[in-house]
């Protein structure tokens, strides 16, 4: 009887010891994780890109752009510098401008359409005269015809101007860029088209995509979902680079980090491909 009491007491004590030790070790391990996580929250990223990598799609974060909620205009990813979130979807936009009416079901909702100004970007980059700073007919004379020739400049845009892949040789730079006004695009009737509205030019050939775009199916629009609401439209060249379209249709992007593995899982190696059937 005594013996039983004593031994049971010892067993209880030992079990208690194990338990308290185990639990405290567990707690310590957990709190260490927490501290590590807290240390990671870093400064917000300020210079971000929108759809595709490249200088002209970069946006700068402005703090308190929406004073009502203390929002910045954008929030960016810590890992990829991509714009993830719009506090103010219309920051830095201008009205899209006149759009041709098409009287069928593809009639677009352009009442409150705004776009990011691409012309302004050119002016910022090259000065108030934009491309005309050089292409003024004097420093660089106006070309006589649209025939392809080897260019000494702009290799960063098109590596070999004799090998422009847009249209697979059927067209050349001056089919889209105005020969006499480099700050404008030009369609095949000779009408000048603003860089802010490249869709008017692209749509002349890519009609099907243009019609989808007008209907809101192709491309991206943000702002309001409501009919007639204010929407920021992405124009063709904000996503597609017309100069490299056959070589790299899109630059591949760095993805955002993956979700945390479920607690207790050490890896996701079971996610192997092509092992179906078993």
């Amino acid at each position: 009887m005594d013996c039983l009491h004593k031994s049971s007491k010892i067993v209880v004590l030992v079990m208690c010891g194990f338990l308290v030790g185990g639990l405290s070790a567990y707690n310590i391990a957990h709190s260490a994780e927490d501290k590590q996580d807290e240390a990671q929250s870093a400064q917000p990223v300020t210079d971000c890109f929108e759809s595709r990598l490249g200088g002209y799609s970069s946006v700068t974060r402005v703090e308190n752009a929406v004073p009502k909620y203390g929002y910045p205009n954008i929030k960016c990813s810590q890992t990829t510098d991509a714009v993830l979130w719009y506090g103010d979807p219309f920051a830095g936009t201008i009205p899209m401008g006149e759009m041709p009416k098409i009287n069928d079901t593809t009639q677009g909702d352009f009442a409150n359409a705004v776009v990011k100004s691409r012309e302004a970007h050119l002016m910022n980059f090259l000065g108030p005269d934009g491309c005309k700073t050089c292409h003024d007919g004097k420093i660089v004379p106006y070309p006589k015809n649209k025939k392809p020739r080897l260019l000494g400049m702009h290799q960063d845009i098109v590596e070999n101007s004799l090998n422009l892949m847009h249209g697979r040789g059927a067209m050349w730079c001056l089919d889209c860029h105005s020969a006499t006004n480099r700050n404008k695009l030009v369609d095949r009737h000779g009408n000048e088209i603003s860089f802010n509205q490249p869709q008017k030019l692209c749509g002349t050939c890519h009609g099907e995509n243009y019609i989808d775009w007008r209907a809101g199916i192709h491309g991206k629009r943000i702002g309001s979902w409501a009919k007639g609401g204010k929407k920021r439209w992405w124009v063709c060249t904000e996503c597609h680079n017309p100069h490299t379209v056959q070589i790299t249709r899109f630059n591949r992007l760095k993805p955002e980090p993956r979700p945390a593995l479920p607690r207790g899982m050490k890896n996701a190696d079971y996610e192997r491909v092509g092992d179906g059937g078993h």
């Binding site: 994780e33 927490d34 996580d37 807290e38 929250s41 929108e50 759809s51 595709r52 909620y69 203390g70 929002y71 929030k75 990813s77 990829t80 991509a82 714009v83 993830l84 979130w85 719009y86 979807p89 909702d109 989808d212 209907a215 809101g216 199916i217 192709h218 491309g219 991206k220 629009r221 943000i222 702002g223 309001s224 979902w225 409501a226 009919k227 609401g229 992405w234 996503c239 899109f250 591949r252 992007l253 760095k254 993805p255 955002e256 980090p257 993956r258 979700p259 945390a260 593995l261 996701a268 996610e271 491909v273 092509g274 092992d275 179906g276 059937g277 078993h278």
Partner: protein
Amino acid sequence: MSKEIIEELNEAKDVQQGRREFLKNVCVSSVAGLVATATPAEAVVDATNPDADVTVEEFFQGHFILMSDEEKKQAIARLEKRYSAKYGKKTTVSDVEAPDGVLFGYALDIGKCIGCRRCVHACVKENNQSRHDPEVQWIQVMKMPKGNISFSADQLDKGYPEKSEFGDYGVQVGGNAYKTAGFSTEDAQNYYQDDLVPEKDFFYMPVQCQQCEKPPCVKACPVRATFRDHAGVVLIDYNWCIGCRMCQLACPYQARHFNWGEPNLPAEEMNPKTHYFGNRPRMRGVMEKCTFCVQRTREGRDPACMEACPVGARKFGNLLDPDSDVRRVLATKRVFRFKEEAGTYPKFFYYIG
């Protein structure tokens, strides 16, 4: 919410208010201590402020839908005060109703999706999810092999019909016979981490709450903390949820996520524009899920995931408006609903444009 349900809820409303008043008076003192222990301190946010504690009134508040307008106002005021104190910034909690004549729908082009997961993290930024322990993300992106990846050319002639002593079974074995191809959750990778996306030979499919017309989660909830509003969005009253997770069991899209512990939401990342049923900070032990950004969409704004998508694969709009983007997609593209066989009739459509 359908008319019958509203009537049913209204009937329960009067009885409920009176009895709850009684219960409140009886239990105030005994529960005060319980509530205090139920909200442990958080390092990042200011929990030392007494205003940041859950009040007894909040503990005893009823189902938001069943509240009178006066009670709703008080509940909102309580929450705004508590959140503002806890996160150290002016927080608004809206209870704006869904617009009439609207049925929200979503369409996603899996032909365009590149699997960059920007929508996932945009959603986290907008909707005040717990950032870690538990990490809550309302969108999950599946990476699936295109048809040509699992078939290898050198295996082409290796397949043969299985033989038996009675002749061929007519069952193909060997070679590429049992390789999967294309759309299959069986071979989906949810934890892919590639350097660049899209990976060659793969396509991507983001999944979030499909806002079903016949939501199994709403059926399963024992206290009707989750319900469908008249714009077709399935919402949750976080203060009414009891954390039984029956809805999570019922959901065939793995769209519902649980706050297993006290959510970790850094004060500086907290989005102060919130909605009662949407992105207001949640508490431990309640369910949450995509609401189509109810705090945005009820005010006419697009959801955060749609605005973040760099390739324009996501389309959102009013299913009752034939000129909306979504209706245009439905009219012109071949759309399908994910897990059609579950009989849930989602308002989230996938298409290959």
